[in-house]
C-alpha cells in the first residue's frame, strides 16, 4: 500500500530567529526536502531613494547609515564619493585616511557580526559572544571618532565631520595585534571543527558563471574563484597606497565563503596597520566645499567594495540642491536573488546554512 503523502507549505519568517531581520521565505517542502522557495521581501522598505529626492545631499547621509546598518561607513562613503565625483571636490589626505580606517574597521565589525550569527545559525552559541566582544571594541573606537555606535553619520561631502581624538590612532594600532590573536583563536575553535566543516562543505554550491549571471558581488563572487575586488581593480580613495591581498577560494560553497570572509578580516587588519603608519600627523579634514552643495547637471555612478559586495550610487542631478534621482545598488539585494535556486532540493537544515552564508542585511535588501 502506498502511503498518501502531501507537500507542506512552511512559512519561515518574517519573525524567525535565523532570517536576520524581517525576511520571509515560503518553502514548499516534501518531508524535509525543499521543492520550492519563494522569498518575500519589503518588510523593512522605507523608501530611502524617494525620500532622498527631497533632501539636500548632506541630509541624505544619515539615511545611508540605515541601509546596511552593520557597515554604515561604507554607505556614507559611497554617497559622498558620488557627490564629490560629480562636483570634482578634492578630499584632503588626512580625511581620506580617516575614511579608510573607519571603513576597514567597519568591514571587520561587519564580518564579525556575520561570523557570530552564522555560527549561531549553525547551533554554536559561544562564537557569537566572542565576535561581539571584539566588535564592541571596534564600535567603541568608531564611537570615539564619530559619536555614534551604529549609525555614524561621520562622512561629509569633501571630508569627514570630526577629526580623530588624541591617542585614537594608537588605540587602533593596539587593536590590530589583539584582533589577530583573537582571529587565531576563532580558527582554532571553529574552522577546524569537524561538525562545522561537515555542515558547510559542498553546501550551497554555485559556479563562477552562475555567480556572474546572477550579478553576485563581494565574497559571494570571490568564493567561486573570480578575483574581483574594487579596492584593487578600480581603486578609489587611497586604496592604491596599501599592500593587501584579495582572498579568493574556488569552492563556491558555504565553506569557501566562510574562508573568504575570515581571510578578509586579516587583510583589513593589514590595511589598518599600514594606514596607521602612514597617517599624516596634521592637516585639514575638510576640503574646499562650496557653502551650498549643488551637483552640476548630469549623472554619475560610482561603486565601491562594501563588506557585502559592490555598493553603487547613481545620482542624476538637474543642478539643484537635491538630487533629481538617486539610486543605490545595494549588494545584499542582488546577492539574495540566487537564494531560490540554491535552496531547491536542499534539506531544511541547509536553508539556514545557505541563507546565512550569503550574508544579507535586511535594511539593505529592502532599501
Amino acid at each position: 500500500m502506498m502511503l498518501r503523502t502531501e507537500e507542506m507549505i512552511l512559512n519561515v519568517g518574517p519573525q524567525h530567529p535565523s532570517t536576520h531581520g524581517v525576511f520571509r521565505l515560503i518553502l514548499k517542502i516534501d518531508g524535509e526536502i525543499i521543492q520550492e522557495a519563494t522569498p518575500v521581501i519589503g518588510y523593512l522598505h522605507r523608501g530611502t531613494e524617494k525620500i532622498a529626492e527631497g533632501l539636500q545631499y548632506t541630509q541624505i547621509i544619515p539615511y545611508t547609515d540605515r541601509m546596511d546598518y552593520l557597515s554604515a561607513m561604507t554607505n556614507n562613503y559611497v554617497l559622498c564619493h558620488a557627490v564629490e565625483t560629480m562636483m570634482g571636490i578634492e578630499v584632503p589626505e588626512r580625511a581620506e585616511y580617516l575614511r579608510v580606517l573607519a571603513m576597514e574597521l567597519g568591514r571587520i565589525a561587519s564580518h564579525l557580526v556575520w561570523w557570530g550569527t552564522y555560527l549561531l545559525d549553525l547551533g554554536a552559541t559561544s562564537p557569537f559572544l566572542y565576535a561581539f566582544r571584539e566588535r564592541e571594541m571596534i564600535i567603541n573606537l568608531l564611537n570615539e571618532l564619530s559619536g555614534a555606535r551604529l549609525t555614524f553619520n561621520y562622512m561629509r561631502i569633501g571630508g569627514v565631520k570630526w577629526d580623530a581624538p588624541d591617542g585614537w590612532i594608537d588605540k587602533v594600532k593596539q587593536f590590530v595585534p589583539y584582533m589577530r590573536e583573537k582571529l587565531h583563536g576563532y580558527h582554532e575553535l571553529v574552522t577546524g571543527n569537524e561538525i562545522f566543516r561537515q555542515r558547510v562543505t559542498g553546501v550551497g554550491r554555485y559556479t563562477k558563471e552562475e555567480a556572474i549571471s546572477y550579478s553576485l558581488s563581494g565574497v559571494n563572487l570571490r568564493s567561486t574563484g573570480v578575483k574581483w575586488d574594487l579596492r584593487k581593480d578600480e581603486p578609489y580613495s587611497i586604496y592604491d597606497r596599501f599592500d593587501f591581498d584579495v582572498p579568493v577560494r574556488d569552492g563556491g560553497d558555504c565553506l569557501a565563503r566562510y574562508e573568504c570572509r575570515m581571510a578578509e578580516i586579516e587583510q583589513s587588519l593589514r590595511i589598518i596597520e599600514q594606514a596607521c603608519e602612514q597617517f599624516p600627523p596634521e592637516g585639514p579634514i575638510m576640503g574646499k566645499v562650496p557653502r551650498i552643495i549643488k551637483a552640476p547637471p548630469g549623472e554619475t555612478f560610482v561603486r565601491i567594495e562594501a563588506p557585502r559586495g559592490e555598493i553603487g550610487c547613481y545620482i542624476a542631478s538637474d543642478g539643484k540642491k537635491e538630487p533629481y534621482r538617486l539610486k543605490f545598488r545595494r549588494p545584499s539585494f542582488y546577492n539574495l536573488q540566487i537564494l531560490p535556486k540554491l535552496l531547491k532540493g536542499q534539506n531544511l537544515a541547509n536553508v539556514i546554512a545557505i541563507l546565512g552564508s550569503i550574508d544579507i542585511v535586511l535594511g539593505e535588501v529592502d532599501g
Binding site: 507542506m8 512552511l10 524567525h16 530567529p17 535565523s18 524535509e32 555560527l119 549561531l120 545559525d121 549553525l122 547551533g123 554554536a124 552559541t125 559561544s126 559572544l129 566572542y130 566582544r133 575553535l189 571553529v190 571543527n193 561538525i195 562545522f196 561537515q198 555542515r199 534539506n347 531544511l348 537544515a349 541547509n350 536553508v351 539556514i352
Partner: protein
C-alpha cells in the same frame, strides 16, 4: 535496606515512609535541576566571557532559577485553538513521568538506592524510551508545522541513538556479568570500566548526548531552524515540564555514566576515607560539566548526518566492541 521495607508487612508507617522517601528523591532531583540550570548558565557564562545570573539571590544568582520557575507558574496557560486538546495536555506528563521513574533504579551509594532490580539497566533504557512518545505527541498535538518537524526529528533521533546506547552498554554488561546496576558498580572495584571499555565509553557518551537532545545533537529543538522544535506552542508550566524532563534526564544520564563507566561510588586509589557519596557526586558533576562544555563549544549536526553517524559509525563500532569484549572475556578470564 529497601528490600526489608518492601517485604515487611504493610502498615501506615511503611506507606508514609515510602512516600516520604519518594518525596525526598523528588526534592533532591528538583534541587539538582534548579542548581544544574544555574551551573549551566554560570559555566557557559564563564566560557563565553559573560557573568551569567548575578541579580536574583545574591551575586551568584542563587535564586534565579527559582524566580524563573515562579514566573512560569504565573504565566497564562495557553492552548492553541487548533491543537488536539487531550493529547496536548497529556504530552508533557508523558514526557516527564518516565524521566522520574528511571531514577528509582540508580544506586547513588552502596546503601542509598530505591529499587535493586535484576535488570536495572534494561529498565532504565526501556522506560526512558517512553519519553519519545511524549515528545512526538506534543509535536503532533500542537498542530504547528515547526513542532511537527521537531517531533519527527526527535523520534528519529531518539530511536536511532538508543541502539548504539544499548549496544555500547552491552560491553559493560558482558564484563560485569549482570544487568543489575549495583553489581555493575561492584565489578568496577579494581578497574573502572572507562579503562576496560574506552570505546564503549565514547560511544555511550555520544549516544547519551543525543538521547538528551543536547548540543551538538539538539536538532529536535534547533532554535535557529525550527524556532523551538516540538515545544514551540507550549508555554508556562507545560513547557516547564518538558524542560524539567530534559534536565532530570541530564541528572539520570550523568548518574548512569558514573555508574556504568566511572566506578560509581568507588574511590580513587588512596582516598578511600572520603565517603562514597562524595565520590559519586564528584564524578557525576564532572560528567555534567563535560556536557555543559559540549554545549558551549560545538555547532549542531545536520539531521541526515546525524542518522548516518548513528547507523554507519556508532552502531558498527559498538558491535565490534561487543565482539572484542566477548572474545577477550572468553579467552582470558
Amino acid at each position: 535496606m529497601m528490600e526489608q521495607w518492601l517485604e515487611s508487612t504493610p502498615s501506615w508507617s511503611n506507606i508514609a515512609l515510602f512516600f516520604g522517601l519518594g518525596a525526598l528523591l523528588l526534592a533532591v532531583v528538583l534541587a539538582f535541576v534548579t542548581y544544574g540550570i544555574l551551573a549551566e548558565r554560570k559555566v557557559m557564562g564563564f566560557m563565553q566571557g559573560r557573568i551569567g545570573p548575578n541579580q536574583v539571590g545574591g551575586r551568584f544568582g542563587l535564586l534565579q532559577t527559582v524566580a524563573d520557575v515562579l514566573k512560569l507558574l504565573l504565566k497564562e496557560d495557553t492552548i492553541p485553538k487548533a491543537a488536539d486538546r487531550p493529547l496536548y495536555v497529556l504530552a508533557p506528563i508523558i514526557a516527564f513521568t518516565p524521566s522520574f521513574m528511571v531514577l528509582a533504579v540508580l544506586p547513588f551509594t552502596d546503601s542509598f538506592r530505591f529499587a535493586d532490580i535484576g535488570v536495572g539497566l534494561l529498565y532504565y533504557i526501556a522506560v526512558s524510551g517512553l519519553t519519545t512518545i511524549g515528545v512526538v505527541a506534543g509535536g503532533w498535538a500542537s498542530n504547528n508545522k515547526y513542532a511537527l518537524l521537531g517531533g519527527m526529528r526527535a523520534a528519529a533521533q531518539m530511536i536511532s541513538y538508543e541502539i548504539p546506547l544499548v549496544m555500547s552498554a552491552l560491553g559493560v554488561v558482558l564484563l560485569a556479568g549482570s544487568m543489575n546496576l549495583v553489581d555493575i558498580v561492584a565489578a568496577q572495584k579494581d578497574v573502572w570500566f572507562i579503562f576496560a571499555q574506552p570505546l564503549a565509553f565514547l560511544i555511550f557518551l555520544i549516544a547519551a548526548v543525543a538521547e538528551l537532545n543536547r548540543t551538538p545533537f539538539d536538532l529536535p529543538e534547533a532554535e535557529s531552524e525550527l524556532v523551538a522544535g516540538f515545544h514551540v506552542e507550549y508555554s508556562g508550566f507545560r513547557w516547564a515540564f518538558f524542560m524539567l524532563a530534559e534536565y532530570v534526564y541530564l541528572f539520570a544520564m550523568a548518574a548512569l555514566v558514573t555508574i556504568l563507566f566511572l566506578g560509581g561510588w568507588h574511590p580513587v586509589a588512596f582516598l578511600g576515607w572520603i565517603p562514597g557519596a562524595v565520590w559519586f557526586a564528584l564524578k557525576f558533576c564532572a560528567v555534567v560539566f563535560v556536557l555543559i562544555w559540549f554545549r558551549a563549544t560545538f555547532p549542531r549536526v545536520r539531521a541526515d548526518q546525524l542518522m548516518e553517524f548513528a547507523w554507519k559509525v556508532l552502531l558498527p563500532l559498538s558491535l565490534v566492541n561487543i565482539v572484542l569484549t566477548a572474545v577477550v572475556k572468553a579467552w582470558f578470564f
